[in-house]
């Protein structure tokens, strides 16, 4: 659990839902549609008749920024503001067909787009606002020079308002009013301040970790949110359940779409008091890990990347906080299933690693791993999987003894080590360094 990026569409939808509560004197003409491979076009067109009437803007909504620079914002056919639905549809189809490479080097298939009405405006009407959490303060960034160039000349363009967590409403209002950029046109000053103050309250109450609007446009009392980037603190889900309804945390662009197995693990993790995490880094990688502990798992990943190269590392994951035998069985079985799908002529390596546990019962968790081994013993053998185990903690002797005995009886290759062996020594042993 941590800070997680969310789609632009989600952010705008949340703004729209909460708008009247926060921005009582302002108006947000919310018109946004998320188009994905699962979208039913008829449905969308029926629900959003403006799609057929308005000039449109289309952008991928897949967590990456700099879409303008990457030429991925559709706003003109022959001239700015002449994109209709048919053209937009054609463009999305075209873009989704082949792999897209961003200037950052990220590669992947475009699947999700946000479609909105084109809002004609001059570039000097673009404003910037962002809020972030830093230690014991919240920081608000305000600028009259929004748009894609905001980062160049940041210090001149942007004013910073630091809000202490215990500032009261009056103080917050005062600070934001004082921190207003000097170059906001006089006619828009009051609206800007009003918006910025309530933007901050919205950011705070909705448990954003980061929220940026770049740009937004002010027309009379209307606020147009042209672009939004945000990360949510997903640990707040238990308090925000209703407001965040149907929140999803997409995999970042270029990462393969989360496979159903990973989603299943996430679901178990969500309902368990212990922690189960799994990411697939490279399905074709030879080295698979089954590591206990948020810290140790990172050390294993670091060491594998250092010694064998990052491409050899197939997955990253960890289980911790005393998972039940069944939870561990499910977790291990998922890893075994994924690692035995494609054979590798050189065979594969399974590292069952971990530091010296504080309170997790090693024998109990290994019981779950042994059960999963039993289910997958044939597949593990066929894939020439060599198993290396290292673990310490409560009942580790029993756990090591049991897993070694079970694996040998199943005819699997296994080596086991306890706390007297350095935590990542098995990585060296496995790849013969």
């Amino acid at each position: 659990m941590a800070q997680k990026p969310v789609r632009e569409f989600f952010v705008k939808q949340l703004f729209a839902k909460e708008w009247d509560h926060y921005f009582t004197r302002l108006n947000y003409p919310f018109k946004s549609v998320l188009v994905s491979p699962e979208t039913s076009v008829e449905h969308v067109l029926a629900a959003h008749t403006w799609l057929k009437k308005d000039d449109l803007v289309v952008k991928p909504d897949m967590l990456f920024g700099k879409r303008g620079i990457n030429n991925l914002v559709l706003y003109k056919n022959k001239k700015p503001g002449d994109v209709d639905w048919d053209f937009a549809k054609k463009w999305m189809k075209e873009k989704s067909k082949s792999e897209t490479e961003l200037k950052s080097g990220q590669k992947g298939y475009l699947t999700h787009y946000i479609v909105e009405p084109f809002v004609p405006h001059a570039s000097d009407e673009e404003y910037y606002i962002a809020a972030t959490a830093q230690g014991l303060q919240d920081v608000l960034y305000l600028s009259a020079a929004g748009g894609i160039d905001i980062e160049s000349g940041w210090d001149e363009k942007v004013t910073t308002v630091v809000i202490e967590l215990d500032d009261d409403e009056k103080k917050i209002k005062e600070k934001i009013s004082k921190g207003l950029p000097k170059d906001i046109p006089t006619a828009k000053k009051n609206i800007f301040v009003d918006f910025a103050i309530h933007f901050y309250f919205f950011f705070r109450d909705m448990h954003f970790a980061y929220l940026e609007l770049n740009p937004f446009v002010i027309k009379d009392k209307n606020i147009f949110l042209l672009d939004a980037v945000a990360r949510m603190d997903d640990t707040a889900e238990f308090v925000m359940k209703e407001k965040w309804e149907n929140i999803e945390y997409p995999a970042s662009f270029g990462m393969s779409k989360k496979c159903p197995e990973v989603e299943a693990i996430e679901k178990v993790d969500h309902h368990s008091g212990s922690s189960l995490k799994l990411s697939i880094l490279n399905r074709k990688g030879r080295i698979w890990t089954l590591v206990a502990g948020g810290g140790a798992s990172v050390v294993y990943a670091d060491t594998i990347a250092d010694l064998a190269g990052v491409t050899e590392l197939a997955n990253y994951g960890e289980y911790s906080g005393g998972p039940t035998t069944e939870e561990t069985r499910f977790y291990a079985a998922t890893v075994f299933d994924l690692m035995t799908r494609e054979k590798n002529p050189d065979g594969k390596i399974l590292l069952i690693g971990g530091a010296i546990a504080n309170f997790t019962d090693v024998a109990k968790t290994f019981e779950g791993i042994v059960l999963a081994m039993q289910e997958y013993k044939e597949a593990l053998k066929k894939n020439k999987v060599k198993i290396y185990v290292r673990r310490g903690g409560p009942n580790y002797q029993e756990g090591l003894k049991n897993i070694e005995k079970a694996a040998k009886e199943m005819g699997l290759y296994i080596e086991v080590y306890g706390p007297e062996t350095h935590v990542t020594e098995i990585v060296k042993k496995a790849i013969n360094v």
Binding site: M1, A2, D233, S252, M255, G295, D302, A355, N358
Partner: protein, 599 residues
């Protein structure tokens, strides 16, 4: 005081996490702590007042409270708060604890406390200069003095990692598992750690690397430090800054894990919630480079940490900064001798030369020259301490007042009938006693209960009358068959006079007398009767003695007031029984003509 904890540090443990508490007590035993490291447990749904644990082979009781405030009131010396509440409750529980302005160190173990809530906790802790370990932390340890919950793992692992006595390294990590791993590595490559903390895996943890390192800098036991950082956040730069400012002069070994993360441009969450780089500055590689450039001992990789420790330690040995340690004797944990007890006794003890009442030998209370009367003995055996004279005299006044009320009352009558049937003293006595209940003698309990309720709720006397009327209950302790305002009950007069003269305060009696003004205005005989007076004065007595309201409520609901009536009236019952034995009256049969038969 230097260092986070010492051998006298005590904790209040929120949540009855029996495994973790027992591990703390096991550690206490092995390092020969004289006072238990856990002073009390807080468990809001607890039905027991204590939980049983072992200290070595002996079973001990740790008191349990339903809220932190009560626990603090009873254990003011316990300055460490170990919050083992879930991520849902951790915020509220911690804020409540902070409101008491009592704790010096607070530890939160829950993983997944919302960041904004964690930051609000941090802010309050910082204002109060409280060391806040966590959230998402397994805790910390001052070797040979105090261990938090599960840190260090099993006892055998702790011995192997030399966590039972101070070494010379100060260890700070984010991760709990790697804390153990490093403690072990440090023990293998040097003389072990003096103090160590796992600061917690969340992005916003309370007290952070630099704070702990600055504490360790001041601690003469600590000669060098090891910091294990992580990708994500900028806390490690604070440490660099402190070193550059000359605030950290001891050698510091440092490494940040998570070099892998750069390969995935922040798209995979590696490890802890805090382990995600939001800028280039936050990558493990940048941090490791910056640390190295600033004069920290930075190994080539995580796996080279052992050699770096060895090298730093050997240098400090050579320079005479560290002296070789003489290993202390270890006390083995006698697990096999542990046996749970089936009974518990907290009021008396007959194991020594002489049996004791609440610790006082019987001979020291028995004879008149000791100055102890029967009231003192009651206070020792019923309330586990000697009450002041005004209170024990009150006990005796009550016993004397209720001792008998003639042969006609139903209890005495039953005792007499049974004695005439040829039964023994004890059989006749219990027959009389079994009559005591809601209608006979029970008004004492109820008077105490309802008058206390009305007073606590600030009900005016008329409101109280209305309340009882709505409940459809006659006011207990009010009313007498014959006695009235004009013909007052002398026993009541005596009790009232005694209380006004000798009680430090009698607010509930005063309230009851105001109620009596209302009731007697309606009917002359609705006076405060003897049962009511006793019940109400008992409450005034306990309040004067400083008992908590919850304790007084427990006395009432536990039947303590009834017990005074039972004890006192037994004197009278026995009198009637002996009277029957002496008179040798025949078996009693009730006359037909006194019974109305159904046609």
């Amino acid at each position: 005081m230097t260092g986070l904890f010492n051998k006298k540090s005590q904790a209040i443990f929120w949540n009855n996490n029996a495994g973790a508490i027992q591990r703390m007590l096991d550690y206490d035993f092995v390092i020969k702590r004289e006072i238990h490291s856990v002073a009390a447990i807080v468990a809001p749904t607890a039905s027991r007042k204590f939980e049983l644990f072992f200290y070595g082979a002996n079973q001990i009781k740790i008191p349990v409270y339903v809220n932190t405030e009560e626990a603090v009131k009873n254990h003011p010396q316990a300055k460490v708060f170990l919050n083992f509440a879930s991520f849902r409750a951790a915020f509220d529980i911690t804020m409540e604890a902070l409101k008491l302005h009592h704790f010096k160190t607070i530890m939160i173990t829950a993983e997944g406390v919302p960041e904004r809530m964690a930051r609000l906790i941090n802010l309050e802790a910082k204002k109060q200069k409280v060391t806040l370990i966590g959230p998402a932390s397994v805790g910390g340890i001052t070797a040979g003095a105090f261990r938090i919950a599960n840190i260090g793992g099993t006892l055998s692992n702790m011995m192997q990692s030399k966590l039972h006595r101070p070494g010379s390294c100060g260890l700070v990590t984010r991760s709990g598992g790697l804390f153990n791993e490093l403690a072990n590595i440090i023990a293998q490559n040097s003389d072990g750690i003096a103090e160590g903390i796992a600061i917690g895996g969340d992005r916003f943890v309370g007290t952070t690397f630099v704070d702990y390192l600055l504490l360790m800098e001041k601690d003469p036991k600590i000669k060098y430090m090891l910091m294990l950082g992580e990708v994500g956040g900028t806390d490690e730069y604070e440490v660099i800054k402190a070193k550059q400012e000359g605030l950290l002069t001891k050698p510091i070994i440092a490494w940040c894990i998570g070099t892998i993360a750069e390969n995935f441009s922040g798209s995979v969450q590696f490890g802890h919630a805090g382990a995600s780089a939001n800028s280039n500055l936050e990558t493990a590689r940048s941090k490791n480079m910056a640390l190295k450039e600033s004069g920290f001992y930075v190994p080539e990789t995580f796996n080279a940490i052992p050699e770096t420790i060895h090298q730093v330690y050997q240098q400090l040995l050579k320079d005479g900064v560290i002296e070789p340690i003489i290993e202390p004797e270890i006390r083995e944990l006698p697990v096999s001798q542990r046996k749970s007890k089936n009974f518990i006794c907290t009021i008396s003890d007959d194991r020594g030369d002489e049996a004791t009442y609440a610790g006082i030998p019987i001979s020291s209370v028995a004879t008149p020259d000791t100055g102890y009367n029967i009231g003192d003995v009651i206070s020792l055996l019923w309330f586990k301490k000697r009450y002041p004279k005004w209170a024990t005299d009150f006990f005796e006044t009550v016993l004397k007042t209720v001792a008998d009320h003639g042969p006609a009352v139903s209890g005495a009558h039953n005792a007499k009938v049974t004695a005439r049937a040829g039964k023994s003293v004890v059989e006749s006595l219990v027959t009389g006693l079994l009559t005591i209940g809601p209608r006979f003698g029970g008004a004492i309990d109820d008077a105490a209960k309802y008058f206390k309720y009305a007073y606590d709720e600030n009900l005016s006397p008329p409101d109280f009358l209305m309340y009882m009327k709505n409940q459809n209950i006659p006011i207990p302790g009010i009313g007498h068959r014959i006695k009235s305002l004009k013909n007052p009950d002398k026993r009541v007069e005596g009790l009232k006079n005694y209380a006004t003269r000798f009680f430090p305060q009698h607010a509930l009696l005063d309230y009851a007398l105001k109620v009596e003004l209302e009731t007697t205005a309606k009917k002359d005989n609705l006076i405060l009767n003897v049962d009511g007076t006793i019940g109400i004065l008992m409450v005034d007595m306990w309040r004067s003695l400083g008992y908590a309201e919850s304790e007084i409520d427990e006395f009432i609901s536990g039947g303590t007031l009834n017990a005074f009536f039972i004890l006192g009236r037994s004197i009278g019952f026995i009198g009637h029984i002996l009277d029957e034995k002496r008179l040798q009256m025949p078996m009693y049969r009730h006359p037909f003509d006194d019974i109305l038969y159904d046609e």
